[in-house]
Amino acid sequence: MASLSSLFDPELLRRYDVPGPRYTSYPTAPQFTPGFGEADLRAVAAASNGDPIPRPISLYLHVPFCTSPCFYCGCNRIITRDKARGTAYLTRLYREIGMASELFDRDRDVEQVHFGGGTPNFLDPLQIAEVMDVLRRHFHFAPGARMDCSIELDPRFITPAEVGELAAAGFNRASLGVQDFDPAVQEAVNRVQGVAQTLGIIDACRAHGFRSVNVDLIYGLPKQTLEGFERTLDITLQARPDRLAIYGYAHLPSIFRPQQRIRAEDLPSPEQKLDLLRLAIEKLGQAGYEYIGMDHFALPTDELARAQREGGLHRNFMGYTTHAESDLVGLGVSAISHIGASFSQNPRDIGGWEQAIDEGRLPVWRGMRMDEDDVIRADVIQQLMCHGRLDYDALGRRHVIDFRRYFADALARLEPLQADGLVELGEAGLQATSRGRLLLRIIAMCFDRYLTAAGGSAPLYSRTV
């Protein structure tokens, strides 16, 4: 693989700093409609049981609560210190788990469980272990070696001993929010988090046999400086997490209300933002990390990096994964399911979700059934996002299409990108250049029927880099 430093081309990154989807799914969530309801979810689940070899199941559980608001956050969350809310939430979540489990045949193994938020560790380890018990009662878990059980952790609200309790409950992967260790930045985003505290949790994950630890950092935050961010990177890389995500902060205060508490004059300029990204990429390259895609990096020994080398990388709502396609069941407020060729999403407002559960209904707010074209494009975009290249013959064979004819318009749209050096268009396929790999979204956007139908880019997406 090319060295990480060749990823960074400031001129290109500037030119293509346009809003675009992150393609954790295709079609993306804005295409979901309320026309897809509970009956549709039941039908697609029944159909998925009818597949000759039904896919394994991945479970996503959303815990919407956070004790304190981080000002940069664009997630769907509820700020509260009232632990009773967690208890009430779990009562309903268990009912949803019960209802959802009845949709699937008993011989379908669960291979992946992910707790996301909000802050999953808003719940205490006993509660989280209880959720796992409920899941095990309703679903059949694959043997330990195949089972990925991950949780997003806020290191400020968990102790090393509690990490042990999570390991005992079956967790073997963790993702830790760090963002930046610089105290000035931490204050500006309302997230004060000690270095020792954070490193202690990483150590505890290792000590308790977690297979991998991921750390999230963010560049582009208020008050961020090159010096401060370099120190953050040094501390982080010293701990050598298996995976690192370097997200770009997207300031959209009109959409994400918490961001209104960030002062625009504290934000780094676009130039400074690019310098921060360049710094991160250089440092990660020196430390031996490989680029996976989007915002994600991993050590060469990590499963993600190995899967990418072997062509077995996938991408879903939980990000990059080594699991071959599975039917994803999202549980909890706002969670998204992806079953067969369909998407469905639970209500984003807690009231709507609670009401559905209380009435004994599967809480479906909106969704969609993919048509044949959606399925083909989803495969193409998945290949791009995971491997940065397309093999026209393989795709044509898989979908029984003449790829070049089917995608003549998309290939035409790619030509200016080729002229700009993002992508190389060949006879048999296309390949993102090393400079183009940070801009995979831009390449993928050329294959997005809904974007081209809309005649441009939708304003609600965050910026590409």
Partner: protein, 252 residues
């Protein structure tokens, strides 16, 4: 592309003709062979064609007929898949067969004047319906047609007894796939790539296996490089070995 033909159940000009006119029958029609092979003059064709009523599209889960309904017509599948089944005294479903384009349903009703089973669309189904009294009358005038009717009926009996024998799960599964492949190929579909329009439970029921066994056997076929399966799509990678496995059931 692997092999000729369209991937079932998609439609294409090669496998799904237009609705036909007085002289041009749908190429998927069960009777096209009888008409075209020999000796059917224009007048006879016209006679046959006026007996045909196009039915559909039927949507998944819609019934063509139910057990006990009075018999009046046989139907040829033009597009899609029809499942025939009975429900026993304990309420258990018994799958009798899957009927693909070009195949006829309702033949087993001739004896009792009532349909002895249920027929349900598994996907979007189009049918040609033939009034039986009229076709029987016509058959007296057209020896070819009569022969063809007999042939269809005897084939129907053969299919039903296929899996009553004492074969391993692997052999039954292989025979099932080879059977589908051959039947689809005969109608111009790709023999190597097709969709399983029936559910795992239906396949299991038909082959007298547990649904988990269907998946286990197919997973093993995949590991052995016989087939590739993604969701409902099947690609036969090693037709020879699959046929060898199926031989114990098919015997030809």
């Amino acid at each position: 592309m692997s092999g000729p033909g369209v991937v079932f159940p998609r439609s294409g000009p090669a496998v799904m003709a237009d609705d036909g006119d007085a002289l041009t029958f749908c190429s998927t029609c069960a009777f096209s062979q009888a008409c075209m092979s020999e000796g059917m003059d224009k007048a006879a064709l016209m006679d046959l064609h006026v007996l045909v009523e196009h039915v559909g599209p039927l949507h998944p889960g819609e019934h063509v007929f139910r057990e006990g309904d009075p018999f009046g017509a046989i139907a040829a599948v033009r597009a899609g898949t029809v499942k025939t089944y009975q429900v026993d005294r304990n309420g258990h479903e018994q799958v009798l067969g899957f009927h693909l384009p070009g195949e006829v349903i309702g033949l087993n009703a001739i004896h009792d004047d009532r349909y002895p089973c249920n027929a349900v669309a598994l996907d979007t189904v189009m049918l040609c319906r033939f009034s039986f009294p009229k076709i029987a009358l016509l058959a007296q005038r057209l020896p070819n047609l009569q022969q063809h009717l007999f042939r269809l009926m005897s084939r129907d009996i053969g299919v039903a007894s296929l899996f009553a024998r004492d074969n391993t799960a692997d052999e039954r599964m292989a025979a099932f796939l080879i059977g589908l492949s051959r039947r689809l190929a005969a109608r111009g579909f790709s023999p190597r790539r097709f969709q399983l329009t029936m559910s795992r439970t239906d396949i299991a029921n038909y082959l007298r296996l547990a649904p988990e066994t269907v998946s286990r056997v197919l997973r093993r076929f995949e590991q052995d490089g016989l087939v590739h399966i993604k969701l409902r799509d099947v690609e036969v990678l090693d037709m020879q070995r699959l046929e060898a496995l199926a031989l114990a059931v098919l015997r030809d």
